[in-house]
């Protein structure tokens, strides 16, 4: 490989990264807009409609305002960690997008075979997403600790215990998907769901679909699990001392994580880029994936407009006493069904039924 090839390769990588990061940033901006409009609609009021047509320029105005605001660092704060914390929160949220397959493309007929549209088609993609998204705890913990404020510290501690609790049921609900798909690669999981609505994994794994989505809401500190920033008792929780651009970085991370959870739910349970019916094939796969993701983001916003915040003991009860037994039981159900046919012939209808979803058999 000579120097020119290396530079070219580097440019292609940079372009690939930009092609993910810029839409994610724009998506975050317009998710905040959609959130305000949708909640406004649900509460029978207008929402933002002043800046530009239908208020469409509002996110840009907000971004500009936050950018121009002064960043205040408390005198007793640990300066280095205080500044590093928002970056640590944003980094994992963006890094995880590296393995998300956005669809298949032949680049307008340029390639012979269809390639998966992801920066890295890792064969341990699911584990990568789990590992990277578990790192977002550090941003919150560091923000809470470095602020040297009681409210921020309590918010950080709440957030950490909440994320640890829900990560377990989230991981175990993914195990069910892995048993069915027989692969850790995200694109392989999507391929396993090919063939229309009946093949999607939310049908055999319906409880896991619900558990994954709700645990995702808890992982991203979304309402009704937004105890870390419970404004009634903690002012704003872990980012109470932050202002201006650093504050905006935290909300950027939160919304990017929300988009990621919606994408992962679509890929793991809702057939990824495949249309629900075969005759709808003429619409590109990426459109389907983004449509499913948008719907799930809408559901997140819907949650926020509908449910009151959980109390802390209720949150822990839901994570440990409801979700964890359900996921463990469902792993057992799927596992036993898979190998029931080998135990006796009278049970083979179970393994035949589950085998419909298992392309590796």
């Amino acid at each position: 490989m000579d120097l020119f090839d290396m530079i070219l390769q580097g440019l292609i990588w940079a372009l690939e990264i930009l092609a993910i990061v810029v839409p994610v940033a724009l998506g975050v901006a317009y998710t905040t807009y959609a959130e305000r409009r949708v909640i406004g609609w649900m509460q029978v009021r207008q929402g933002c409609n002043r800046v530009g047509p239908f208020g469409l320029l509002q996110p840009l105005a907000d971004g500009l305002k936050l950018f121009l605001k002064e960043t205040i660092i408390p005198t007793t704060a640990n300066k280095f960690l205080f500044v590093a914390a928002p970056v640590m929160a944003l980094m994992p949220a963006l890094l995880a997008f590296a393995v998300v397959p956005f669809g298949e493309t032949t680049l307008f007929g340029l390639w012979e075979t269809a390639h998966v549209m992801s920066i890295a088609n890792l064969n341990v993609g699911v584990l990568y997403v789990m590992a990277i998204s578990s790192l977002s705890i550090y941003g919150i913990l560091m923000a809470g600790w470095a602020s040297n404020s009681k409210y921020a510290l309590i918010g950080a501690i709440r957030s950490t215990s909440q994320m640890i609790s829900y990560e377990i049921s989230m991981g175990l609900s993914i195990v069910c998907v892995l048993i069915l798909a027989g692969s850790l690669g995200l694109s392989d999981i999507v391929y396993a769901q090919q063939g229309g609505l009946g093949h999607w994994y939310f049908i055999p794994l319906f409880p896991m679909f619900i558990v994954f989505f709700i645990a995702g809401a808890a992982e991203t500190n979304r309402s009704p699990f937004d105890l870390p920033e419970g404004e009634a008792e903690l002012v704003a929780g872990f980012f109470v001392e932050y202002s201006g651009m650093w504050f905006a970085t935290f909300s950027l991370a939160e919304y990017a994580a929300m988009i990621l959870v919606s994408l992962m739910t679509s890929i793991l349970f809702l057939g990824g880029w495949y249309p629900p019916f075969e005759f709808l094939d003429f619409i590109p796969g990426t459109v389907w994936l983004l449509a499913k993701t948008s719907f799930l983001i809408f559901v997140f916003i819907w949650f926020r407009a509908t449910f009151p915040r959980y109390r802390y003991d209720q949150l822990m009860r839901l994570g440990w006493k409801v979700f964890l037994p359900w996921t463990l039981a469902w792993i057992a159900v799927i596992g036993i069904c898979t190998y029931a046919g080998e135990l006796s012939d009278s049970l083979s209808f179970l393994s035949d039924g589950i085998g419909f979803y298992q392309p590796w058999r």
């Binding site: 590992a131 578990s134 705890i137 501690i157 003991d313």
Partner: protein
């Protein structure tokens, strides 16, 4: 060549971070250095094509174990001055342990047992060899017994930790959700004759 460069990058950063762990005065900073050290160790696994081990190292050590470390360290109030005094008192025994360990490491590395001609060298397999699948195959066939024993030991530790720490407080109020949901109108309302 690129691979060797990355090896020295990850290895050097890992050593640098490990030095940071023991040399930084602030325990919180030590934890952050340890996290960086784990990241570089996982980078070394990636260089060996062991992406499963690399990811699991991040998932378990960085994502779970270090969070609990940080959680505990954050709660501690460490007296910096008290930590510094008396280091001369512990120097002989600490230095002795360090010297013995150093001697052992040097002896092991010059003994020739770990030379490049005796160790199996990892060569890069093709993309069709999936090391997650290979690990799964060998773990659940050849090493099944050991795997199951490890799982049972972990389960015992888990149950033990719960048994040791579970205390039901008499004065605390617990919410019984099924009790609340199953309540009928007759349980709460009584008709009072006026």
């Amino acid at each position: 060549m690129l691979e060797t460069g990355f090896f020295y990058l990850f290895g050097g950063l890992a050593i640098f971070a490990a030095l940071g762990v023991i040399l930084s005065a602030n325990t919180m900073h030590s934890v952050m250095w340890l996290i960086l050290c784990f990241f570089n160790a996982s980078g070394l696994f990636f260089l060996l094509d062991a992406e499963f081990l690399g990811i699991v190292l991040i998932l378990i050590y960085v994502g779970a174990v270090m969070v609990l470390f940080m959680f505990v360290v954050m709660m501690l109030e460490v007296n910096q001055a008290a930590k510094r005094e008396g280091w001369l008192r512990y120097l002989p025994i600490g230095g002795m342990i360090a010297l013995i360990l150093f001697g052992e490491l040097v002896a092991a590395s010059v003994s020739g047992l770990f030379g490049s001609e005796t160790m199996a060298m990892a060569s890069h397999m093709g993309a069709e060899v999936n090391n997650t699948v290979e690990i799964g195959k060998i773990l659940y066939t050849e090493y099944l017994l050991g795997f199951e024993i490890a799982a049972i030991i972990l389960l015992v530790a888990l149950v033990g930790a719960i048994v040791l720490t579970l205390r039901e407080r008499k004065d605390a109020k617990y919410q019984n959700i099924s009790h609340q949901v199953n309540v009928r109108k007759e349980d709460r309302l009584t008709k009072v004759g006026m």
